[in-house]
C-alpha cells in the first residue's frame, strides 16, 4: 500500500514545545484519526502538514512529494478543513466554490458541475444562491466541506469536522467521508468524539504533549495497553485513550 502521508522527526516550538520529534504514517485509502487531549499538538501537526505552519525541523511527504520543498505541488492534492469554517459571509455557497475552484485551478465547467453535485449531496442546493451570512454553523461547515472537496483532493485533512453539527448533518458528513475512503481517498481527521474514531477509523494515532504515544488499529492499541501478550479484551477506545494519556511520560512504541 502506498503512503499518503509520512511525517518524520517533526518539531515545532512556540513559547513551549507544541510538537516534538513526531513520526507518523498514513496509508493511502485509509481513514486515520488523530486523537489527543486539548493542547496535545493535533492541530499544530495538521497545520504543518497543510502548509499553514512552518515546522522547526522534520520531513513531511504527501504521496511522495516533499511538502517542504515543493509546497505548491503538495497543496494541489491536499485539502484542509478546520473546525472554524473558512468561508465568506457575503458570498453565496456557489460563489465561494467558484473562488476555491479558481485557487486550485479547476477547469471552470468541471468545477461548476462538481459544485452543483456537492451542494446537492450536502443538502445545500436550495441555498446555493443565498449569502452565507444567515447560515447556521452546521450549514457553514457543510459549505466549507464542499470547498475542501471541490478539487477532488487525494488527501483530505479535517480538524474537528463534526463540531457544531446536528445529528443529521453529522451523519451526512460521516457518510461522505466513508464514501470517499471507499472510493480510495485518504482522510485524516481529529475529533474529540471517540465513538466516531472507533467506528470509522482504519487506524488511530494518539498524541499528547506533542508526542505520538501510540498508533495502530484499535485492536493493536488494545493489545498495547494490555501489555505484552495482552489480548483484545473488548475495552473501548475511550478506555484505551484514557489509559494511554493518563500515564505521564509513559511513551508507548508505535504498533503497526
Amino acid at each position: 500500500m502506498t503512503e499518503a502521508l509520512i511525517v518524520r522527526g517533526l518539531d515545532k516550538t512556540f513559547s513551549k514545545p507544541a510538537v516534538t520529534d513526531l513520526n507518523l504514517t498514513v496509508r493511502a485509502g485509509e481513514l486515520y484519526a488523530l486523537l489527543g487531549p486539548n493542547g496535545a499538538g493535533k492541530t499544530t501537526t495538521l497545520r504543518m502538514v497543510a502548509g499553514l505552519t512552518k515546522p522547526d525541523r522534520g520531513e513531511i511527504s504527501i504521496f511522495g512529494i516533499d511538502a517542504r520543498a515543493e509546497p505548491a505541488a503538495a497543496k494541489a492534492i491536499t485539502a484542509w478543513a478546520p473546525d472554524e469554517a473558512m468561508i465568506y459571509d457575503k458570498l453565496t455557497p456557489l460563489e465561494y466554490l467558484e473562488f476555491v475552484a479558481g485557487l486550485w485551478n479547476v477547469e471552470p465547467r468541471a468545477a461548476k458541475a462538481r459544485a452543483d453535485e456537492l451542494l446537492a449531496k450536502l443538502g445545500l442546493a436550495s441555498e446555493a444562491r443565498r449569502r452565507c451570512e444567515g447560515f447556521s454553523r452546521g450549514m457553514k461547515q457543510k459549505v466549507a466541506l464542499a470547498g475542501a472537496l471541490i478539487h477532488d483532493p487525494r488527501l483530505l485533512i479535517l480538524d474537528e469536522p463534526l463540531t457544531g453539527l446536528d445529528a443529521a448533518a453529522a451523519r451526512l458528513v460521516k457518510d461522505m467521508l466513508q464514501e470517499r475512503v471507499d472510493a480510495g481517498g485518504t482522510v485524516i481527521l481529529t475529533t474529540h468524539i471517540l465513538e466516531v474514531a472507533e467506528r470509522m477509523a482504519d487506524r488511530i494515532g494518539i498524541i499528547a504533549g506533542g508526542r505520538l504515544l501510540a498508533e495502530g488499529t484499535l485492536d493493536a492499541l488494545r493489545a498495547q495497553v494490555g501489555g505484552e501478550g495482552g489480548e483484545a479484551d473488548g475495552s473501548t477506545l475511550e478506555d484505551v485513550f484514557l489509559q494511554l494519556t493518563a500515564e505521564p511520560g509513559g511513551l508507548v512504541e508505535a504498533v503497526a
Binding site: A72, K75, G102
Partner: protein, 516 residues
C-alpha cells in the same frame, strides 16, 4: 458602599469603563513603544501650546461681547457635532455588537439600568477624549490666573452627556424608521456626515459655485467688525459657563443631564427590545439571493480572486459608505483648491488634477488595505497551491477597479475640456493608486473589515508613506498639467525613492505576517 455593590450603577459603570479602556489599549497595542513616545511628544507639544496661551492671556479677562460669545457658541457647536458623531456611532454599534449585553440582559438587572450605564459609558468615553485634549492646553492658564476656566470642563461634560442622549435618540429613531437591517449602515454614514457637518457647511458656498470662499470664523469676525452681529438669547451661556460663572454652568449641566436622563431612562425598555431585534435580524430574515451566481465560473486563481474581492467590496455597504465619505470630504477640498488657485485657468486645472490624483491614491490605499490586510480567510489562501504573488496582484487589481470607476466621470469631463490635462490626470491617478496599493502589499498587517475606518493595527509608517507618495505624485501631476512636465519628474523621482525604500521582498512580507 454603593460603588462596590455588585449590580449597582457605579459598579456597572466601572465595568463599562474598564472594557472601554482595554479596547483603547488593544487598539494601540500594535504601535508599541513608538506609539507611546509619539503620545508623550504630542502631550508635551500641547502643554507647550498651553503655556503660550497662558502667557498670552495672563492679566486679561475674556470680554463678554457679541464676537466672543458667538465664537464660544460656535466652538461648542463644533465640539457637540464631533461628540454626536461618536455617540451616534457608539449607540448604533451597541445594538449590534452584543459584547456582554446578552449576559447583562439575562442577569437580574433591569434593562433600563443596563442602558443607562451603557449610555453613561459612551458619554464618559467621549468626554474623556475631549478632557484629555483640553487639559494640557488650558491647564497652565487655569493655574496661572484663570481658575474660572475650569468651567470649560463642566461645559465639556454637559456637551458629552447631551451628545450621548441625542445619539441614543437618533439611533433609536433610525431603528424605528428604517428597521434593524439598515440602521447600522445609515447610522455610520450619518455619524460621519454629522462629524463633517461644519467642514461641509463651511465649504457650501464654494460647492454652490461662488467665486470666493471664506470660513465661518472669518465671516463672524467680519460681521462683528461691521456691527452686524447680534447673538440671540442664551447664546452667551456657553462662554459664561466656560469662564466659570456658576449659574450658566449649572443651567447647561442641568439641561444636558435632563436630555440624557430622558433618553436613557425613557428608551431603556425599547433599547433592549431593539437590541434583541437587531440580533435576530440576521438570522430571521431570508438570506439574500444572488442572481449573479448563474454565470460560468471564473477560470484560474487570478480571475477567481478578482471576482471574489469585487463581490465583497460591492456587498460591504459600510465600506462603500466610508469610501464615498472620503470622496465627500475631498471633493470640496478639490474645489476650494482649484478655485483659490484659480485666478488663472491653468493653475486651477493643475491644482484640481493634483487633488484628483491624491484622492485616487488615498481611496486605492484604503481599498487595498481591505483586500490585502483584511482577508477573512487567510488560511484558505495559504493552503491553496495558487502562487501568493498572483493572489496579491488580483487583490491589488480589485482595489483599483472601484477607483477607476470613480474617476471615470472626472476624467471624461476633463477629456472633453482639456485632453492633455485629462491624460496627465489619468496617468497621475493611476500612478498614485498603484503606489498606494504597492505600499499596502509590502506592509500588510492583518485586520478586520469592520476596522476599516481605523485600519486598526495598520502600520503608521505605511499610512504616512501612502500620504507622502500620493502627495508627491499629485504634485508631479499638477506640474505636468500646468505645462511643465519635465519638472514633474523631480517629485516623481522622490516618490520613486520613497517606494524603493519601502519595498519588501516576498520573504520579508511573509516574515512580517508570521511575526504578528
Amino acid at each position: 458602599m454603593s460603588w462596590t455593590v455588585p449590580g449597582s450603577i457605579p459598579w456597572l459603570l466601572a465595568h463599562e469603563m474598564r472594557l472601554n479602556w482595554r479596547t483603547f489599549r488593544a487598539g494601540r497595542a500594535g504601535r508599541g513603544a513608538r506609539g507611546l513616545v509619539g503620545m508623550v511628544i504630542l502631550g508635551l507639544v500641547m502643554v507647550l501650546g498651553g503655556v503660550f496661551i497662558a502667557l498670552g492671556v495672563h492679566g486679561r479677562q475674556i470680554p463678554i461681547n457679541p464676537l466672543s460669545v458667538s465664537l464660544a457658541a460656535l466652538a461648542c457647536a463644533v465640539v457637540f457635532t464631533l461628540m454626536l458623531s461618536q455617540t451616534l456611532s457608539a449607540s448604533s454599534e451597541a445594538l449590534y455588537d452584543r459584547g456582554d449585553l446578552d449576559l447583562l440582559f439575562s442577569a437580574p438587572i433591569g434593562p433600563g439600568k443596563v442602558l443607562f450605564v451603557r449610555a453613561l459609558g459612551v458619554a464618559a468615553s467621549v468626554g474623556t477624549i475631549f478632557f484629555l485634549a483640553a487639559a494640557p492646553l488650558l491647564g497652565p492658564s487655569i493655574v496661572w490666573g484663570h481658575p474660572g476656566w475650569l468651567g470649560v470642563f463642566g461645559v465639556l461634560a454637559a456637551l458629552a452627556l447631551a451628545a450621548a442622549g441625542a445619539g441614543l435618540i437618533l439611533a433609536m429613531a433610525l431603528f424605528a424608521l428604517i428597521g434593524p437591517r439598515r440602521t447600522r449602515t445609515v447610522a455610520q454614514v450619518l455619524a460621519a456626515l454629522v462629524g463633517a457637518a461644519f467642514f461641509l457647511a463651511s465649504q457650501a458656498r464654494t460647492i454652490l459655485g461662488e467665486q470666493t470662499s471664506s470660513s465661518l470664523y472669518a465671516d463672524i469676525v467680519a460681521r462683528a467688525q461691521a456691527g452686524r452681529l447680534h447673538p440671540g438669547l442664551l447664546v452667551d451661556l456657553p462662554l459664561r459657563a466656560m469662564t466659570g460663572q456658576p449659574l450658566p454652568l449649572l443651567a447647561m449641566l442641568l439641561a444636558a443631564v435632563g436630555l440624557f436622563a430622558v433618553a436613557a431612562l425613557a428608551l431603556g425598555r425599547r433599547f433592549s427590545d431593539a437590541a434583541a431585534a437587531a440580533q435576530g435580524a440576521g438570522s430571521v430574515r431570508p438570506p439574500r439571493t444572488e442572481g449573479t451566481s448563474r454565470r460560468a465560473f471564473a477560470a484560474g486563481a487570478f480571475l477567481a480572486t478578482l471576482r471574489k474581492e469585487l463581490l465583497l467590496i460591492r456587498r460591504d455597504a459600510a465600506l462603500l459608505s466610508q469610501v464615498l465619505l472620503r470622496v465627500l470630504y475631498l471633493v470640496p477640498t478639490a474645489l476650494v483648491l482649484s478655485r483659490t488657485a484659480s485666478h488663472g485657468g491653468e493653475a486651477a486645472l493643475a491644482a484640481g488634477a493634483g487633488v484628483v490624483a491624491f484622492l485616487a491614491g488615498q481611496v486605492a490605499g484604503s481599498l487595498a488595505w481591505i483586500t490585502l490586510s483584511a482577508e477573512e480567510t487567510p488560511d484558505l489562501l495559504m493552503v491553496s497551491p495558487a502562487p501568493i504573488r498572483m493572489l496579491r496582484r488580483a487583490k491589488l487589481a480589485a482595489a483599483l477597479v472601484p477607483v477607476a470607476f470613480f474617476l471615470l466621470i472626472p476624467i471624461a469631463v476633463l477629456t472633453w475640456a482639456a485632453p492633455m490635462a485629462a491624460f496627465w490626470t489619468a496617468l497621475g491617478a493611476l500612478a498614485a493608486s498603484v503606489a498606494s496599493g504597492l505600499i499596502n502589499v509590502w506592509h500588510q498587517r492583518p485586520g478586520k473589515r469592520s476596522d476599516f475606518k481605523r485600519r486598526a493595527g495598520a502600520s503608521w509608517m505605511a499610512t504616512l508613506a501612502e500620504i507622502v507618495v500620493s502627495a508627491l505624485i499629485a504634485l508631479a501631476t499638477g506640474v505636468a498639467v500646468a505645462g511643465f512636465a519635465p519638472w514633474g519628474l523631480i517629485p516623481l523621482a522622490v516618490a520613486g525613492i520613497v517606494l524603493l525604500l519601502l519595498r519588501r521582498s516576498d520573504a520579508q512580507i511573509a516574515r512580517n505576517l508570521r511575526t504578528r
